[in-house]
Symmetry: C2
């Protein structure tokens, strides 16, 4: 074998979608040259053995073409759009079969002009010499950092792209729901497979196989772990046993690379224990509270606060915390159990537009990120708008090392009963997560329903 | 969810293996500073959403540690070995749970000294200022090209590493055979699943799921295609139908990242047609010929020639070619049907050590790569030695566009009957591939047997 170059067999939205997206972008950035690089192959262990190709999300958004080695230039003053890239070579004919020339592919997304990849440098240099503004987004791929040795990213362009990509159109929602249909199959399969004696990686493998079998890839590395209190445990090296609960946080891409991101917690023996039911119910209530509160104009940091208060109300009812739950949250006591954010934007990226800078995606000049522990992990704080797609993922985690540290520091002692907490220190952790779209009236959970209530999950986990 | 950083839960060979490998390397490179960078995470669509981490193969070979952000420095004059990298942070505790400090991990592979990652630059700069030789291998990862802005790679180091990595030890063979056990399961599953109406990607997904379920990843992107004549068709977008044959060229990694690489060709209806049997039999004969000829000292380009002659003998018997098969091969006529190489080295990389330069891996000053079409795709030409692991993968491909071009040019008309070829132009293509190790006496096919004869394959494909 000789490893492969990527497919050029694209799925695309209708051409008009890309043209319209670019028109709206151009209307927001008055002058200069926009330089929008696509991604190249990412070498795994040598150049010709790459990871599955993933196009840059912003490039996909405006230009759709799902192949490496492309760069788009929009000249705002001339009013031209050009795609730089190379045509298939004679050798490509042998290795990958006949492929259309770049100009044909460009036309599919409404771009009339193409040029060879190596013509780009001169265009950029000339613009720079003329003192024109070159609008570039932040670069996260080292190959593009190497290739485009250019100045600071353009805040003007960053803001324009984020404003546009934040509001999902009907066809984008359709893609996200297609990804969620794969998620449903992955989660349902996992619930049926999670039995004592089964290795975590066995189920993670089955889920990844489902995505590939649908012609797509995972949107992010699967977390499938009975050590739910370790927020990112990608190793999947444990074996399940009766009494365990296992967190399944996983997602697939749609054919056009939109993400899904869903978490469920599964009782391995088929039934939750009483303790597990209690924590699970609190988390479900916090999620319901967050979803009920979400509507245009509400600040997402307020949704996070509301969910946190609900978590603290539940923990108080169990005797683990005390005092007024809202005051406890104001004091940060909830971050011992919930040190992460209640949700983040989702779209072409699972953390949507994270590469463009979270200070622009999730915050504004007026609504700034809170630097405190816990709060600083909240990726979205600003007011939400119709068309925003957001994950809602409260959880409760008992991290022994964190409990020990807080206890030693007598942190938030007014709100936390450390002696009662001892009986729970090895509980682990759990999370429940769905993806919602903000509507004019409130919000809607996206995708086909995936078993979530205690009864629904137990029914599948013991089937 | 917040995507994950990589595991630090390594599998390792015994410490003595790494110490001994480094001692042998140091014995071959007398002086200077060896700078051996490991890989960093490869961002997919933003920095925090990486592909599954793959350590650099040479770093794995000498240092074993399977985590990002490490660089090893061997000072040949001082006689010291140091590992540069950062300890887990306080935040890592929350996100990934308690992790051992770097010094503990370094000790597992026999390295006594560690230092923070940012201390590396000064060490390298100082050595450069002192005019010392800094031995660096060729860099294929853009992040390392960016990070290590250093001179030319060291040919001395390249040759020393290749000499050492080319000869596989018993524990390396064991790893390759572990990867082949996964291959067997993938191939057997595919043979059972390949039925009319099934999408190629459905079977490719099932195979990838098998690898992940065993705790490993694919060694390279799977080729599973009924368009076998397209040598690298990674799209898997076709649906199988009765009468098709489908090429399955796939491989997994072992727990320590050694590769497997096996190809089989499956009749979708459960039985090969007469035409398919004829081509398949020729390819099997060519593979048997190549394997029978392989022994220490034979040049692999001669094995390639012998396999090519066998292919031409078979095609002559079918009336598609004419004249003396050996003369036909000397004239390059076989490259119309077999434009690639009969095999390549395999080990920690599926194309072993390709990142170090194929002119050193597969050729010598005396045995140089033949630049002619077909021959230039042969990655290994030099004499083989005991311990070399090599793929043996002859195939016959009918590429309509290539046939048309050759016919128009009347190329090799003395040896090719273009009029008879017309009836075969839509045959497609097929390949059979196993992995062998060269022994003192000859060679041995590695791994558990995977159905290969017409009867064996038909039995599984119709089961």
């Amino acid at each position: 074998m000789r490893p492969t170059s990527s497919t050029t067999d694209d799925n695309l939205f209708p051409r008009a979608v890309y043209i319209e997206r670019r028109e709206r972008l151009k209307a927001r950035v008055p002058s200069g040259l926009m330089l929008l690089p696509g991604n190249d192959e990412s070498p795994m262990n040598y150049a010709a053995n790459p990871y599955p190709f993933r196009q840059d999300s912003t490039f996909l958004y405006y230009f759709g073409l799902d192949q490496p080695g492309l760069t788009a230039v929009i000249d705002l003053d001339e009013g031209t759009e050009r795609l730089f890239g190379n045509d298939p070579t004679e050798d490509d004919l042998v290795w990958t079969g006949p492929q259309p020339p770049l100009s044909n592919r460009a036309q599919e997304v409404g771009i009339a002009r193409t040029a060879p990849a190596d013509a780009l440098e001169q265009v950029v240099n000339q613009a720079a010499q003329q003192g024109r503004t070159i609008h570039l987004l932040p670069q996260y791929r080292p190959e593009n950092v190497l290739r485009l040795r250019i100045q600071e990213p353009s805040v003007e362009l960053i803001k324009a792209v984020i404003q546009q990509r934040s509001v999902k159109s009907a066809e984008e929602i359709e893609q996200i729901e297609a990804a969620l249909a794969v998620s449903r199959e992955m989660h349902t399969t996992a619930m049926r497979m999670a039995r004592p004696g089964v290795a975590e990686q066995h189920i993670a493998g089955a889920m990844e196989g489902i995505a590939v079998a649908r012609g797509v890839r995972l949107a992010f590395p699967t977390i499938f772990s009975k050590r739910g209190e370790i927020l990112h445990n990608p190793t999947c090296r444990n074996t399940l046993k009766a009494g365990d609960i296992v967190v399944n946080d996983s997602g697939a891409e749609s054919p056009l690379h939109y993400a899904s991101d869903v978490s469920r917690t599964i009782p391995v023996a088929g039934r939750f224990s009483q303790q597990q039911k209690e924590i699970y119910s609190i988390v479900l209530q916090a999620q319901a509270k967050a979803i009920a509160a979400t509507k245009p104009g509400i600040e997402w940091r307020e949704v996070h606060r509301l969910a946190s208060v609900t978590l603290m109300e539940g923990l108080k009812a169990l005797g683990l915390t005390r005092g007024d739950p809202a005051e406890a949250v104001a004091a940060g006591a909830h971050t011992l159990f919930f040190p992460c954010g209640v949700g983040h934007m989702m779209g072409l990226d699972v953390h949507d537009m994270e590469a463009l800078g979270e200070e622009y995606v999730g915050y504004t000049d007026a609504v700034r990120r809170n630097p405190e522990f816990g709060w600083r992990s909240l990726r979205l704080g600003k007011a939400v708008e119709p068309g925003f797609v957001i994950t809602v993922e409260p959880g409760i985690y008992f991290m022994p090392h964190l409990i020990d540290r807080w206890k030693a520091e007598r942190k938030c002692e007014r709100f936390i009963d450390y002696s009662r907490l001892e009986a729970w220190r090895n509980f682990g952790g759990l999370r429940v997560e769905d993806d919602i779209v903000v509507t004019e009236a409130g919000c809607r959970i996206l995708g086909p329903p995936i078993a979530k209530s205690i009864d629904e999950v137990e029914a599948l986990a013991s089937a």
